[in-house]
Amino acid sequence: MTDFLLRAVVAGLLLALVAGPLGCFIVWRRMAYFGDTLSHSALLGIALGLLLNLNMQLTVIFICCMVALLLVLMETRKSLATDTLLGILAHSSLAVGLVLLSFTKTQIDLQAYLFGDLLTVTNVELLWLLGGCALVMVVLLSNWNALLSFTVQPELAQVEGLNVARLRVLLMLIIAVVVAVAMKIVGVLLITSLLIIPAATARLFARSPEQMAFGASLSGCMAVAGGLTASWFWDTPTGPSIVVVAAALFAVSALLKGRQ
């Protein structure tokens, strides 16, 4: 009975841990919409994986990374109205994914992919998550200063010798990987919130980028714990419960901070 709960706790905490620092970069670089677009395209990956009978997780990672590279290309060509194009890309990939899914013979639990189903995470999925999160954490930590410098002023960073083009692609790819492995946990529609809300909460108290990253991980973990508890006792859907707790943490923090 407790096996699936243990897996759920481990998976949720793993994701929250990585989503903290990564979410900070998404907030600092105003990339929330990019995260949304990536997560919507994850569903396209699911559909293609099912139709072509490929490894589901690999297909999703591949599709997310491809969309990430496409977004980098769009970001560097400033002539396009980015938010409009992102909107088109996000929702059309979601729609194409849904249409393609209707052609598959296998019955899949669409709800689970859209809103997440942490309680049914399998051992294999947990391993994928562990691998993905470990990879992203290593990349983040080993490039921390460079990514930060690039975020503050890319041209200054470039003159100081950093390869800014590489950093831009790197950041987008690790977001893609996290989105791809996290899909099962909170679902494509809610992934961005797990990246952004804990970071926003941590921002209220942080005095340095590192504090904010750590605080985001912490408040993300609290949200996962709270969401799972609520789901356990009141039988609420897990993914949305986690996001609700994260949002509540933010609201309470903002109120406390505002009163000071």
């Binding site: 907030v27 600092w28 670089r29 105003r30 200063n145 930060l148 410098s149 975020t151 503050v152 002023q153 041209e155 200054l156 960073a157 470039q158 003159v159 100081e160 010798g161 950093l162 926003a200 921002r203 942080a206 005095r207 340095s208 980028p209 504090q211 904010m212």
Partner: protein
């Protein structure tokens, strides 16, 4: 399009570095197109160690583009860019807009420079006169403090060349003059070259060795006095430019209070090197006071 950009050339090792100032940067016949817009047209630029070179020109003249080409951030459509071997550049961007969501102290910002030791950071802040903001939030700085912090970051790389894009942006008039004299002091103490973009005609004229007046092409260039008398300069800047030159020429020997009164006039004797005529001509209203 012929792109023949060489990023480094072997330094002229034959010439003794002590007597002949080293050439730091040489741009030859640089063209730059963006789409079908011709932004720079056959621009030449030469900068030596210890020299301050200022780019002036109206908005859209291509000043920032030229600076970015000099830095290697942009590749020219044609023309050559030569930098001396192992040239260390300290860059001060036009503006630094840090997201309010990013909590960043001045110290942490300076730590982002590669290989910045704590002692270097303290030293650089002291040198630019911003030691007191070390622990302040970057977003809480005044315009002048921010520019000084950016200068400190540029100094951390021990530069041979400082590239400053509008170093006095968002700074009040008094602060602007202070910043220009700081830049001159930094040039002297680091013996580096300075390439800067400026809008402050009247202030910059006294703080620079050489001026390039840019409007897509080089309109005129030379010492501030030469440029000030050039018809191309007057055509580009009109009355404002002429006034700037007048302020520049009489900047040498006295200051005014805000009301225009002459504050301190030094005794004119044989040691005076300056030229009086252009000042008197350009400022007839002052003739009664200090004309001779």
């Amino acid at each position: 399009m012929d792109i023949s950009t060489t990023t480094t050339v072997p330094a002229d090792t034959a010439t003794s570095a002590n007597c002949i100032p080293q050439a730091l940067l040489h741009l030859h016949a640089v063209d730059y197109h963006a789409g079908n817009r011709h932004i720079l047209n056959k621009v030449n630029l030469h900068l030596q160690q210890g020299q301050i070179l200022t780019l002036i020109g109206p908005n859209g003249a291509g000043k920032t583009t030229l600076v970015k080409i000099a830095l290697g951030l942009l590749t020219p459509t044609s023309g050559t860019v030569n930098r001396s071997a192992d040239l260390r550049i300290g860059y001060m961007p036009q503006k630094l807009q840090v997201e309010t969501t990013l909590p960043l102290s001045v110290e942490r910002f300076l730590q982002l420079a590669p290989r910045a030791a704590p002692a270097d950071i303290a030293g650089a802040l002291l040198e630019v006169g911003a030691a007191h903001v070390r622990h302040s939030r970057l977003q809480s700085l005044s315009g002048g403090e921010m520019q000084r912090v950016l200068l400190a970051r540029a100094l951390l790389g021990k530069p041979d060349l400082l590239v400053l894009d509008e170093p006095t942006q968002g700074v009040d008039l008094k602060g602007q003059a202070d910043l220009y004299s700081l830049i001159t002091r930094l040039r002297d103490s680091h013996n580096c070259g300075v390439l800067m973009v400026s809008h402050d005609l009247h202030l910059v004229m006294s703080a620079t060795d050489e001026v390039i007046c840019l409007n897509q092409h080089v309109c005129c260039h030379g010492h501030p006095e030469q440029v000030g008398n050039d018809p191309a300069y007057l055509e580009l800047f009109g009355q404002a430019g002429a006034r700037a030159m007048a302020v520049y020429t009489h900047h040498h020997y006295h200051e005014h209070t805000l009301a225009g009164e002459v504050v301190a006039e030094h005794v004119h004797d044989d040691s005076c090197q300056h030229e009086h005529a252009p000042h008197v001509l350009a400022n007839p209203q002052l003739r009664g006071k200090d004309g001779q």
